[in-house]
Each structure stands twice: as C-alpha cells, then as structure tokens.
C-alpha cells in the first residue's frame, strides 16, 4: 500500500561476490585446520581435559542450530514477512544439523570419560540412580542421539530444500507445505532438544534433575542464534552484501528478539533457581551448591550481571536496537555470555575445585565452530542468499516498524 513512497532503493545482488566468498573460505579453512590440529593434539596430550572442553563447544554449536530451526519454523507458522529477507541465512545455519551429527561422534566416543552413569556398577548401587537406569544407559543414550539427529536433520533438510526449490519454481504450494511441516516440527524439536539437553548436559550430574532445564538450554541457544545471525549480517553489510535488503528495521526486530530472549532466559533461569532454593532438596541443590562455591560463584555472578542485567539494560532502549554499532558490540557480547553459560553448565562437573580455563577449551571451540562455519559458507554459494522465490519477499524487503 505504501510502496510508492519509497525512493527507488537499489536492489542487492543475492549472491556473494566470488572474490569475497573465496577470501572468506580461505580464512575459515585456515581456522578450521588450526582448530582441528590443536584439538587433536589436545586429545592426544590429555583426553581427560579434551572431552569436557569438546562437549562445551559441541553444545554451544548445537544450541545455535536448534535455535535457527525453531525460529525458521516460527516464521513459517506465523506467515511472517519481515524475516523473509533473512530466512535463507537461517536455513543455512539450521542445515548445520547433519554436520552436528558427525560432530557428536567424539561425545559418543567419550561417553565413559564424560558420564559417570555410564560406568557399570554405579547405577545399581545408588538408590536414586537405580530408578533412572531405564533411561540413563549407553544403549538408550546412543539410540536417542540417533533419533534426535534424524528428526533435526530431516526437518532442516525438508524446509531448506523446499525453500531452495521455490527459488526457481516460485511454487506457492511449497510455502504451504513448509507451514504444515513446521507445526509438528516445533513440537518435535522442542521435545527432542529438551531431552537432548537432559542427555548431554544434565546427566553429567546424574543425581540432579530439573524439569525446566531443556527450556533453559533452548532459550540460551536461540539467543545465541540471533546474535550470530545479526553479527553475520553486520559483517555482510560491511562488505556491501544485502546492505539494501536488510535495513535498520530488520535489525531493530532482531534486537527485539535478542532483548526478549534475554528476559526469557533470565525468567527460566530464575524459575529453576528459585524452586530449587525453596524446596531445598539435597539432590537438587547440589547443582547450585557447586556453582556457588569458590571461583564458580564469580562465574554465576557474571551470568546474572552480564548475561542478564547488562544486556537487558542496553537492549531496553529503542535507540540501541536501531544502532548498528551498538548491535555489533551486543552480538559479540551475547556470544561470549552464551559461551560462559554453557561452560558454567558443563565444567563444574569436572572442575569442582574451581574455574580452570584451559587452552583446549578454545581449541575445541574453534574446531567445532569453524566446521559449522565452513558448512554455512558452502551453502552460501549453492543458492541465492535470499529466498528469492518466497511470495512474501517484496513485503519483507519493504518492512518498517510502525
């Protein structure tokens, strides 16, 4: 309706210039090789340190991919137009799923190093653990992991390939099909991702349980997904890629999402903490007891003030959500805080005496994330970087906040 008011905005090319793409590929490839050399060296030097460090990196990457998939499905279900210019990038992040299935192998391989419950004899002798044996055993653990990755990869592949097919065919039915598959997809992703958090992180302390734990992990992962999406778009913009398609209006909306998820994460984190604090049951409080002892207490404080309070106050203002400079800083901040969060979930199970950062944490992080980045980078080349066949694209390009 207000189309005619717009000055004729120059249209972007929906392809990354070959020179830029190759430069990016070379950088990522270099980092990838360095990361894996360091991670493998770390494994051979000290595999006791390797597995926890690797699990942190793996869980960090998985959370982002799940966040991307959930958000893509929400966009289909709501028939959203504003996000259409960004959706191909989300789909490319979401398509990390099959790679993550491969990246899960070291976790599966390190089962006995990571999970106390996997040792024979432990479950049978402990009255509390005995009751969890039907769920917490290696066979069930492996089967569930296969099921999770099968669901995640299938849905990611379906949504992504339909979207790519629509680039050429402009077939409206693909939009309807994506909508239809997204409804059960949301449900399945939510349940499977929740259980995956239980399997991979919560069971590191097999006595402990928290029913909201999966939501906690999902909230953090989605938060980090928005940060990485926004950060990537800002880097693109610096190179003139999608500079006219993704405007401050889109950044403003992503800022709102980051703000909302800052609050949502805090809400869930607090709900978990308050109920455990109030009930005061030993097998529940053990989680926070470790994290409120010694130097881990400082990390908990970083989460309270850095993950929540600081991000909340900065993103509260409309002006900061519309300032690309503020967002550039905030997205990096969010990614750091999410790493601290995942580190805080995993590491106290291994470093009970106190925080013990290790170079292998960085090595594994670089190895995992560069692998995912490489997959992402390749997918940028195999299709336009915007869903050009989507019927809502024009509307999405012209989107403005009222």
């Amino acid at each position: 309706m207000s189309k005619h008011h717009h000055h004729d905005v120059p249209r972007d090319s929906y392809e990354i210039p070959t020179a830029t793409w190759e430069k990016g590929r070379n950088i990522i490839l270099g980092v990838f090789i360095l990361g894996w050399v360091a991670a493998l060296a770390g494994y051979s030097i000290d595999h006791k340190q390797f597995f926890p460090s690797y699990l942190v990196a793996f869980f960090f990457g998985t959370g982002i991919a799940i966040g991307a998939a959930l958000f893509t499905m929400i966009q289909h279900l709501t028939g959203s137009a504003w996000s259409v210019p960004l959706r191909r990038l989300m789909e490319n992040v979401m398509m990390s799923m099959p790679i993550l299935a491969l990246l899960f192998l070291p976790v599966a391989f390190g089962l006995h190093e990571l999970y106390e419950w996997s040792h024979p004899g432990i479950m049978e002798t402990d009255a509390l653990l005995k009751k969890k044996e039907a769920y917490l055993n290696p066979t069930a653990f492996y089967i569930r992991a296969v099921v999770y990755f099968a669901i995640w990869s299938f849905w990611a592949w379906r949504l992504s390939s339909w979207s790519r097919a629509q680039d050429q065919s402009k077939d409206l039915n693909l939009t309807f099909k994506s909508e239809r598959i997204s409804a059960p997809g949301m449900l399945l992703f939510f349940l499977s991702a929740s259980l995956a958090s239980v399997d991979w992180v919560m069971s590191l302390q097999p006595h402990w349980y928290s029913t909201i734990f999966g939501v906690y992990c999902l909230a953090g992962g989605m938060w980090a997904f928005f940060a990485i999406l926004t950060f990537t778009l800002l880097r693109f913009r610096a190179h003139g890629i999608l500079a006219n398609s993704v405007t401050v209006e889109h950044y403003h909306d992503m800022g709102k999402w980051m703000f909302a998820l800052t609050v949502f994460w805090a809400y869930v984190a607090f709900s978990q903490y308050m109920l455990i604090w109030y009930a005061n049951l030993p097998e529940e409080t053990i989680f926070f007891k470790v994290r409120r002892t010694g130097s881990w207490e400082s990390v908990s404080a970083i989460l309270l003030f850095g993950h929540f309070a600081a991000t909340f106050l900065v993103l509260l203002a409309r002006a900061s959500k519309r300032s690309l400079n503020v967002l550039r800083f905030v997205t990096v901040w969010i990614l750091c805080m999410h790493y601290v969060d995942v580190y805080w979930l995993v590491m106290p199970n291994f470093a009970k005496a106190g925080v013990a950062p290790h170079w292998m944490d960085a090595a594994c992080f670089v190895a995992v994330m560069s692998t995912l980045a490489l997959g992402f980078w390749w997918r940028l080349k195999s299709a336009p970087i915007v869903a050009v066949g989507d019927p809502r694209l024009e509307k999405g390009l012209e989107f403005q906040n009222v």
Partner: protein, 179 residues
C-alpha cells in the same frame, strides 16, 4: 484574533496517502508546526514527515517500573524483618530468592499502569468529543479519505491563507472546522 478562538483549524481532504504525505511535507516546509493527520490505516513515514518527536511514554513507564520494584523490595523487607519477623520453613526473614517474584510482578503491574494511564494522559483522553468530528466528511477518515488538519493554534495560521495554501496542494475538499 477573536474569530480564531472558536476555530479548530482547516481540514484538507485528500484521496490518497501519497498526496497526504506530500501535503504534510509541503506544510512543514512552509513553516506550519501544529498539524494532525487522520487516516484509515497507519502510513509509514508520516511521523517523520510531520516532525513528530518520539513519545516520552517510555520514560514514564521506566518510572513506573522503578517505583514498582522499589515498593516490592521495601514491602517485603519491612513486613518480613521489622513488622512481622516470622521464620517460615527455615528461610531467611528476607531474601531476594523468594522475594523476586513479587518484585517482578509489581514492576510489571506498575509499568503497565504507567503505560496505559500515561498513554491516556499524553493523548488527552478520556474526552467526550473532538473538534475533528465537526468536519462534515469525518467518516471518510476511517474509510478511504486522508485528512490533514492545520490547527488554529499554529502561529502561522490564518483561516483564508491556510485554506488557499492547502487548496494548492491538491486537497479535494476544504473546510474550516469549529472548535
């Protein structure tokens, strides 16, 4: 001028959002500041064209939330530790752990009050009527007409001159509306 005290302003009736937006820009360029547009749907960019400043409502809400939070802290701390110090299930007399839900709720409640009542106040509501309803074609502004009113309180306002000016912008109908 005495006659102006009973005049609300001049209404110009346009047939499209484009002509309205152009008229708003032209009026601003001419130096008019007190104007209002009435349209059937939100028009992107009209706030900027009219030079509307961002609302101060956000700051009012911020005051509401700060008041709510502080009230909740003081209320729970004072009742729990001074007025009625009772130990309940071995918990401290006051702690943020159990106090926070109330702090959150009161923050949200007073923020919502501040938002709703602040919005009503800033909009001058509630009021029984508005001079724009004296315009004979006002119903069109919720259908397919786009109205621009230059109000009599504007320093540059002169009923005849303003009317001529708006006519030159392509208004299809013009009317001086009484207050």
């Amino acid at each position: 001028m005495a006659e102006h005290s009973s005049i609300h302003g001049v209404v110009a009736d346009f047939d499209s959002p484009d002509t309205l937006l152009d008229a708003v820009r032209a009026a601003r360029a001419k130096g008019y500041t007190k104007m209002e547009a009435y349209t059937p749907f939100p028009i992107h960019g009209i706030d900027e064209a009219m030079g509307a400043k961002p609302s101060i409502l956000g700051y009012i809400v911020l005051c509401g939330s700060a008041t709510g939070f502080t009230t909740a802290v003081l209320l729970q701390w004072w009742t729990g530790t001074i007025a009625y110090p009772l130990v309940i299930s071995g918990k401290p007399l006051f702690a943020f752990e159990f106090g926070f839900p109330v702090m959150f709720e009161l923050t949200v409640l007073l923020s919502a009050f501040a938002a709703v009542f602040g919005m009503l106040g800033l909009n001058g509501l509630p009021r029984l009527s508005h001079p724009i309803f004296n315009y004979s074609g006002v119903a069109g502004s919720s259908d397919d007409r786009f109205l621009l009113v230059i109000e009599a309180s504007d320093k540059k306002f002169d009923a005849n001159e303003t009317k001529d000016f708006l006519a030159s912008l392509g208004a299809e109908k013009l009317e001086v509306v009484e207050a």
